[in-house]
Symmetry: D2
Subunit: 158 residues, 4 copies
């Protein structure tokens, strides 16, 4: 409830990291979304600002992402947006850093840019195919990389 | 402006039809979205209502969809929603039918359900990779199948 | 899960109907969304297609809507989209009608078009302010007007 | 094109600032969105994480917001999301700060929380009611407060 859903159309900016955690596997990567603007004067489209997000994907989606997605590929990412302000590595300075995360609920290669051969993963091959972000378990409100490495805070994916 | 954007997560319900039109190729298929509900009493998820949409995809996206997508496959579909009320085949009766269309802007196989091998289509292989629904040309407000076949109205994709 | 969220920006097309049901009060009205298109040739915006939706709002939101909203007013409506295909009044013919519903989760007057004076309703004045569409109770998959009047089916809001 | 649309449901966290710029009036405020989670164990809803955004609204929407909205009021905000990473005040350190902005296209008081009396602003009373974010003019990719005050960078709205 009150979840902020977003759909991002853009490109994978860093390779997909994957790790196992006590609550299941999780994938993480940076994602770039570049606005396109219609230039009235020139009568043509041009690139606008690029926004960057950190995408997290759990369980089956995380595992399939790690097996399917490479840097530079175009994706459609649908999930929950969350803005976190946290003390970073430099917490001694009392400074806060801002993280813009998306907990992915569905992700696919954008067929506007190419073709894809899909292979269904049979239930049972993965621990669960129940979708991340089902919203009743409280969600993950910290970066699992940071949690796993605590108390030594991990630098955010740059 | 005032466009109603939707992101549908569901399954392809009919095979992808593809045809050339004077303004470029277009693909069309029916798409099923089934809500999942948390049943408090049973403590488990169960299927809810299924909504059906007709998805249209133009130019590069249409061609790549036709080359990549089969009935039953899980997709993420992002695009513009439009509700049309039109006289159907039975126009002699003065009855109107309601069509719920999505003009797709980005579509991908849902990696929650399986893996995918992506192959980028190099620009120039297709007429244009400029995304459908760029919003400045007026959009398509009729089903191109109906337009192409007029005056004999085509039955909607069931 | 798999809910299709939409945000509609448009105008109230019919007066708000309100009724009490065993599961709380519910408001219903028709809502019109008109696309605006940039006409490259004329260098100006023009009206495009108008889509119509039936909006349902429950409990506190329904009661406040009934108290605040008149025909013609501009609103922002955020909620869950559902397409229902049902036998209508003419079920003897075996024909199906399509209904495009939005279960509203948040609604406000669009301040692009005017000003508004807001008055908070203190909790306790209404049965509950818990938001409709919290997603765990199964949702409402039929029009409560039809359910209330069953077995005599009510004509849809035209 | 490729715009990331979001709909935020939450509360105004700072008073609305308004200023005139060469391209029209603009309003700015901070906005807080608190997730609500279903706690299976307790069988009740509880507050989750709070995300903060900076909302910008131009022309008629900005002026009407400034005239209608106070700190603490509940709103529905629909607009374009943008993540900016910029050198802040402390640029001498070579550090970057992250800003999460929404360019509002439609905003209203959330009637889930109270009632509202709406008054339409007649066209002509304001310079233009054409909606901000019409997408063809290139958009605003910097905070107008910063631009107006350049080269002395203004601290972000805290």
């Amino acid at each position: 409830m009150n979840d902020t859903m977003v759909t991002l159309v853009g490109n994978v900016a860093t390779s997909v990291e994957y790790r196992e955690t006590p609550t299941g596997g999780v994938a993480r990567f940076r994602f770039a979304v570049t606005a396109r603007r219609w230039d009235r004067e020139r009568g043509a489209w041009s690139d606008g600002h690029t926004s960057f997000y950190t995408v997290f994907a759990w369980r089956a989606l995380g595992a399939n992402l790690a097996a399917s997605v490479s840097v530079g590929e175009p994706l459609v990412v649908h999930g929950r947006l969350r803005v976190r302000e946290e003390e970073g590595e430099d917490r001694q300075e009392g400074r806060r850093r801002t993280f813009v995360d998306v907990d992915a609920m569905a992700v696919g290669h954008d067929l506007t840019r190419g073709t894809a051969a899909f292979r269904r993963v049979v239930k049972g091959e993965t621990r669960t195919t129940e979708r991340q972000g089902d919203g009743v378990e409280g969600g993950v409100e910290r970066d699992p990389w940071e949690v796993a490495d605590a108390p030594k805070a991990l630098a955010p994916v740059a």
